[in-house]
Amino acid sequence: YLLLGRWRKKHLTFRILNLPSTLPPHTARAALLQAFRYWSNVAPLTFREVQAGWADIRLSFHGRQSPYCSKPFDGPGRVLAHADIPELGSVHFDEDELWTEGTSGGVNLRIIAAHELGHALGLGHSRYTQALMAPVYAGYRAHFKLHPDDVAGIQALYGKKSPEIEDEEEEMELPSVPHVPTEPSPMPDPCSGELDAMMLGPRGKTYAFKGNYVWTVTHSGLGPLFQVSALWEGLPGNLDAAVYSPRTQWIHFFKGDKVWRYINFKMSPGFPKKLNRVEPNLDAALYWPFNQKVFLFKGSGYWQWDELAPVNFSHYPKPIKGLFTGVPTQPSAAMSWRDGHVYFFKDKQYWRLNRQLRVEKGYPRDTAQNWMHCHPQTTDPAPSGGDAPPSATGTDHSAIGTTLDTTSTAIDTTLNIDHLPGDPILDITPSATG
């Protein structure tokens, strides 16, 4: 066996997002549930099905195209399924296969699902060609059971199943709905629309932070929720603010009276440091590309910080409303985004600012619907020329083309943002082409 990763918890939720058309739904479901049981029978793992919202393991069927998977399938035969390793949780089956149960024809869904769940739990491929985790499908077996190598692998990851747990399970007799202990830190629901911080990070990835978790926001949906410390080792959760500066490649995280600095996911030496020039418990932070400065926000005030120049905050904090017109005080999060706009987030809403740092009309809007791809309670009229959802990868030139209309002169004009609005520098009215 080969170990590729593991979940730090043993009580996992799962969700079946859709089913194959070649099997009656109850037969397909039974096959998938049995696939979980192969593993929970030999290791101290429990799997609880959820019917909506987020789940640790998500099973779905797609074909040659999928808006949610970068690896298309190849039609009947050849590649049957694939899965992500922990703690990602995606398990995909090729919908073009003839999925069957109880017959040697077609491809047995239960066995393939058990194999892919092996990956989702952290196992790689086995060299034993008769093992479940062998890469090639060995065909239907009426009395299928795990190979000793499969059992050894899963127990290397999660330990053996101790008898008392076995008794407990037998008492419960609920094969797939045992109790799930609450997480020490409850996983947030991105659809709550509440945030601790938002950051446009390296390579144009948009990160949302809430509690102990972080997830990416993309054009096609949300990435998996990771514990903050799983990505940025040594970083606590419940952050106050996060900001990435393309100028220095530094990512700064703020919490309480401390600041952490990372380059990508590696903490810079000497950090975290104590915050002593700005107030602790900041609300938000953003990088403004037009003057390449970092802005820190707290209450109704802001600090403008040049990362590479000696710090002189003698005139700070300054009133937010003097520079960012129409934004709320005490924002939860803020960021300059790929479309050239500045965004402020507070409670469940967000504000979009134009190049003159004034809130545009029609704002605030609902964060959950417009950023987190959550189903609206009411159908919100599509924002006029408004927030094209984040582009899938990197900069979406079409969005840039329609949204930015920025001519190089506007970008080249180095604004010293210290001037208050009304200052001629700030009153750049976009030219016809800009």
Binding site: L80, H82, A83, Y137
Partner: protein, 80 residues
């Protein structure tokens, strides 16, 4: 030459897709014959086939078998 013109493309794609051949980061796309033969031998051994380093019929048939989309960790060099 180990693969013959017909099989080269498919077999190399398979060996690449499943981790038997490591795509050189900077090098040219075409692989040395010895790399391909080593990859074939690794695949044949892991598939309990006669280990010849040649793309014979049994190897070709095995490559057509339905399988999982994840890579195989059987070539220690590419695994590292």
């Amino acid at each position: 030459w180990a693969l013959g013109p017909a099989g080269k493309e498919t077999a190399v794609d398979y060996l690449l897709q499943y981790g038997y051949l490591q795509k050189p980061l900077e090098g040219p796309d075409d692989f040395r014959a010895e790399d391909i033969m080593e990859a074939l031998r690794t695949f044949q051994e892991a598939s309990e086939l006669p280990v010849s380093g040649q793309l014979d019929d049994a190897t070709r048939a095995r490559m057509r078998q339905p399988r999982c989309g994840l890579e195989d960790p059987f070539n220690q060099k590419t695994l590292k």
